[in-house]
Symmetry: C2
Subunit: 273 residues, 2 copies
Amino acid sequence: MVDNIDNTTVDFRTVRRSVQRWTREGKKEELSDCLVREFSVTIYLNEQEIVTLLCTPEYLEDLAVGFLVFEGMLRSKEELESVIADYDQGQIWVRSRASDYIAEKTVKKRYLAAGGGKGTSFYSLIDVQNCNPINAMLRIAPEQVLAGMKELQARSELFQTTGGVHSALLASKEEVILYREDIGRHNAVDKILGHCFRQGLAPGELILFTSGRLSFEMLLKVAKFGIPILVSRSAPTNLAVELAERLGVTLVGFTRGSGFNVYCHSERIAIAK
Amino acid sequence: MVDNIDNTTVDFRTVRRSVQRWTREGKKEELSDCLVREFSVTIYLNEQEIVTLLCTPEYLEDLAVGFLVFEGMLRSKEELESVIADYDQGQIWVRSRASDYIAEKTVKKRYLAAGGGKGTSFYSLIDVQNCNPINAMLRIAPEQVLAGMKELQARSELFQTTGGVHSALLASKEEVILYREDIGRHNAVDKILGHCFRQGLAPGELILFTSGRLSFEMLLKVAKFGIPILVSRSAPTNLAVELAERLGVTLVGFTRGSGFNVYCHSERIAIAK
């Protein structure tokens, strides 16, 4: 994380800064460190201010759409009229064709501070009741679980530089579709889900890999989008497992080189015959 | 994380559940896994519902107080009349002697989704402007930085069992005062800061150690409480460093066995003479 380059911005996602490095032996020296950039961005929907997020400043259009879809403020691709991100001002302007509905949702929103990682969330249990169980027939081999996680780690360039981000990777059975990194675990996933929504990708064929822990809210987010398999390098909580079971999501945790744990709906993990 | 114990609750912080373990070689077996429990708790202030948090179900009184202090809804120990946690219903009832002020704050709150880790937050830049720079004269030796982090890791029992929590440790120059673990990075810190507030500990003599990444919001939280030294095992963001510099907090990151990085206000780290 530390080297001797000048104290200037070398990448819009990072900032260089001098740092005092102390070793165990009590020696200290001035070095230049590469810090991950934390960028404040405000999402507007039909000119109405919705939320301010702290994030990594890239793919802001996808971030805004992913966020608004999860919050129930965008319901279909047809509703989404336009999305314009101003990277200088830190603003994302989204236009929807369903303005009345949005105003009502915004006023009614209840806040649950459940963002494990930067991000989200207005949420209520109604979201769970309105979420249809996933019955996609997708099947993958155990080797694909391990290969996807290996790919995610190989791509995590920003993490390797700064140590300060989470990563997420979207794949089909055949190929890697998208990779995103963000200071927020939820933002990385929102950027992926926003992309899916804007491109109209069929979720039933998709697998999402994430570096982060699997909380209730992360599970709800993925289930709402209809993705049938969620794979993490980290641990799930009990609520995440309960919700995955109920909503038909195959939940895989502790995916490391040596193997992985399947917490529910293991029928989708099968050795090829 | 996996062994062969029955599928029952063994600790109020964890839940046992059967899991299918796959190895790299394609073998699978059913095992019992210990999952971290994600508990939903709602904070009420003078009967008014403030927020619902997902957390590890212990020290809920401290959690509520820490949260409300950071949100500016509790300003002094004298204002705090009582706090009662109902662990069965997941409710924390706080009574304050300053009710008018609270109602106003709640209505005015703006939401910034910046919770890196479960938790928080209603926040605005006004918080930064209202926050006084810390000029506490506390000095610690580099060995104390390393020793505190070592202690934090040695105590992280729940992490060792479940892999799903963050930890925080409060120390003075002389001793460890408090250790907390929570599924949320912010909750662990809120529980510590809530304890400080309720006990009336003088913040200028305290050092906070955390396992989690240092975001803008984490820095603001610690600075608002007046703690002069913040030490993390992980990376800070650029905004966290900028805010620490401005508010007089000594920010230490990447604290591992081999050494650590001091990002600003390094005058508080000094070799004993």
